[in-house]
């Protein structure tokens, strides 16, 4: 049920009878044709990344969301450090940490 992996669309291909749309997806240099039928409401283009499960593309991968997530993850340690600085000043919770940091830099 769960093994689905990201791959990049390198070629949009054939139309089979019954309006099937296939694309060629590349994962670490390996290529496979996948069925894009589940994405017909918002067809991906060449260069888009999709999530592949049992030979079908399930969804487009949002680079923006991925980058945002990476940023959140990077901040995990930093936020704590910043909070410690703030506590060191004897201020209450709820202070805008970012504002504090730019003021002290």
């Amino acid at each position: 049920m769960c093994l689905a992996i990201p791959g990049k669309i390198v070629e949009l291909a054939e139309h089979l009878p019954g309006e099937a749309v296939l694309g060629t997806v590349e994962v670490a240099g390996v290529r496979r044709k996948v069925d894009l039928g589940l994405l017909k409401d918002d067809m991906p283009r060449t260069g888009d990344w999709v999530l592949i499960h049992v030979g079908f593309a399930m969804t487009k991968i949002s680079e923006l969301d991925a980058l945002e997530q990476m940023q959140l993850l990077t901040m995990l340690g930093e936020t704590e450090q910043a909070m410690q600085e703030v506590r060191g000043y004897g201020l209450e919770d709820g202070v805008d940490v970012k504002e504090m940091r730019t003021k002290t830099n």
Binding site: M1, C2, L3, I5, V30, R31, G55
Partner: protein
């Protein structure tokens, strides 16, 4: 003494309970082991404790020889990077090499399917001739049988090789000690994934080819620099690195700890394994070997390999520890770990 005689004359116990033979019994994993240990060994081997290595060492009037045999049933017969004929030569030479022997002569058996085009057969014989030349060994005899259409996938080849043991090295799993380093000669998974893709059932494309080659030159180079420190070697064919190292762990009673990020593999192997849900450590290799080397010789062994053509990617992937005894542990960079088991049967693509 009476008790011992009684034990020796007792009927051998067949412990193999599977009602029929399945593909898993040929996959090199647990099922294969069950068959060999449970049916073949009790009835065919003289000593119940005979270690099951790649090649057998026999002593004939003072000469130490190694002898091994292997059969090749690959489908398709020809694939990127090689063909069945090449595998047949390299596979047996490699089995001899990892048991510390230099292969000197091969005998070969062909089982040919009625209807096999002569052009295909000739191609394989030429491929074998090339492989023999590169390996510096000759075929000295053989046998041919033909079976009815449908009974042999084109052709099956068995090669039996005989060689002289290299005096500088003594291979014995029981000599492996805590602290020994595990060296891997190069990237894993190329052969198995190439075959899987070449069968055409999975609709995957990748620019991969089989890694089939004779590893004797690499082993000779390593033996020359660090012979006394080499305790154990194996070529991780069917069942992959995981199976070979599990066998070592069982045979020496110690634990093997691997560092996942050190294990070399090509991107395409990684990609194909991810797409199919396969574990690269279970995939067959036909041109690689593993060695357990005493720590004081490990650098010399590795350098010798890295300096030799074809050995540039050799790397230390782990070491032998006291625990987890009889098991292989794979560790990640961030402190996680998991036990790596042998395969039960063939690696299966999964969706879950």
């Amino acid at each position: 003494m009476i008790g011992k005689a009684a034990v020796e004359s007792a009927a051998p116990v067949v412990r193999f309970r599977d009602p029929q033979i399945e593909m898993a019994h040929g996959a090199g994993g647990k099922a294969s082991r069950r068959l060999v240990e449970g049916l073949f060994a009790p009835l065919l081997y003289k000593s119940a404790n005979q270690a099951l290595g790649d090649a057998a060492h026999v002593n004939i009037d003072g000469s130490s020889l190694a002898i091994t045999t292997d059969s090749f049933v690959v489908k398709p017969l020809q694939f990127p990077g090689g063909s069945i004929g090449e595998l047949a030569v390299n596979g047996t030479m490699n089995d001899l090499a990892v048991s510390g022997a230099k292969g000197r002569a091969l005998v070969v058996t062909f089982i040919l399917e009625e209807g096999l085009p002569t052009s295909v057969l000739e191609r394989e014989i030429r491929a074998m001739a090339d492989a023999l030349r590169r390996a510096g060994v000759a075929v000295v005899g053989g046998d041919t049988k033909v079976v009815e259409r449908g009974k042999a996938d084109g052709m099956y080849i068995t090669t039996t090789g005989i060689g002289m043991l290299m005096p500088q090295v003594k291979i014995d799993a029981r000599s492996v000690r805590v602290g020994d380093k595990i060296i891997l000669s190069g990237p894993i998974g190329d052969h198995g994934i190439t075959i899987l893709l070449a069968r055409g059932e999975l609709d995957l494309e990748a620019s991969l080819s089989s890694d089939t080659r004779c590893v004797l030159p690499l082993i000779e180079a390593m033996v020359e620099e660090s012979g006394p420190g080499i305790r154990w070697m194996r070529d991780p064919t069917r069942g992959g690195v995981a199976t070979s190292l599990n066998e070592l762990a069982r045979d020496c009673g110690l634990g093997i700890v691997l560092s996942e990020e050190e294990i070399p593999m090509r991107d395409e192997v990684r990609g194909a394994c991810e797409l199919l849900g396969l574990d690269p450590l279970h995939i067959a290799n036909e041109g690689q070997f593993l060695a357990a080397v005493a720590p004081e010789y490990a650098d010399a062994a590795l350098n010798a390999l890295n300096r030799t053509e074809g050995g540039e990617d050799a790397v230390v992937i782990g070491e032998v520890r006291a625990e987890p005894a009889c098991a292989v542990l794979v560790t990640t960079r961030y402190g996680g770990s998991r036990i790596m088991d042998m395969l039960v049967g063939d690696p299966l693509p999964r969706i879950c």
